[in-house]
């Protein structure tokens, strides 16, 4: 029961993050959607660790790696956004149609 509650919360957060990542135009907002999705995935992982396998610590290792990935993709994403802002003047995805057609 408590496992299902935690997983449902994770699912709703994942859905909100997916909506945000798909529907926002600005790069920073898309990254915030991705951060929400990764946070929801970590919540699911910790729920599985606690209620199904509390003595398997590679699940906690997975959570640590996911946290690392959250930080790293934010860093590299902001570097790319900075360089884009310098050359083009905005980080909107609507104006990033250079390779289209």
């Amino acid at each position: 029961m408590v496992l299902i509650v935690a997983l449902i919360i994770g699912t709703v957060l994942f859905g909100i993050g997916l909506y945000g990542a798909l529907s926002q135009t600005n790069l920073v907002m898309i990254m915030m959607g991705v951060e929400l999705m990764l946070g929801a995935a970590m919540l699911n992982l910790v729920a599985f660790w606690r209620y199904l396998y509390p003595d398997v610590y590679s699940i906690q290792m997975f959570v640590l790696v996911t946290m690392t990935v959250m930080a790293l993709e934010a860093a590299v994403g902001f570097a790319i956004g900075t360089q884009r802002f310098r050359t083009k003047g905005s980080v909107e995805s609507e104006e990033a149609a250079d390779l289209k057609g």
Binding site: V12, L13, N26
Partner: protein, 174 residues
Amino acid sequence: MMELRITLLVIMGLIAIWFGWRVFRTNSMVRSAFSLLASMVAIGGMFLVMEAEFLGVLQIMMMGTEMSIMAIFMMMYMMDPGGLGQMDMKHQEKPSIVVAVATGGLALAVILLTKWGRIISEAPTPAQQNHDLGIEIMERSMMLFESAGFSILTAMVAALATVLIIHNNYKKEN
């Protein structure tokens, strides 16, 4: 005890969901970044309720710094950081709602229809968890930890290399 945990999980989950929803609904950019911070802190609180103490404290610490950095980048790059301009910043809204609801529904079906097995009611104490996590990192997951460290270094170097402007001050001789 389990009822108290379920209640706390539901309360913090509703806080996380509400602040997560507010991220994409508010017009002020810095408020959006800090409501994402509140959502992440609620997720960290849920980790603490689920007795993963190290992960909860780590999540709260890292998300504080990360969301503040996101706030300053939002202020730099977005057109309307104060939120007083009432812009609409969405595109393809209907398809994204459909995709999000479909994914959520699929995951919900999987959650409710699976036989999860026996739920274990006792978890190790935090001191034992830290010790065993350390042993796990040092013995079985050492390769994973080393490659995570290496990828952190690579990402730092890559991010800086993308952004740094190197001025070549060579004097032209002719």
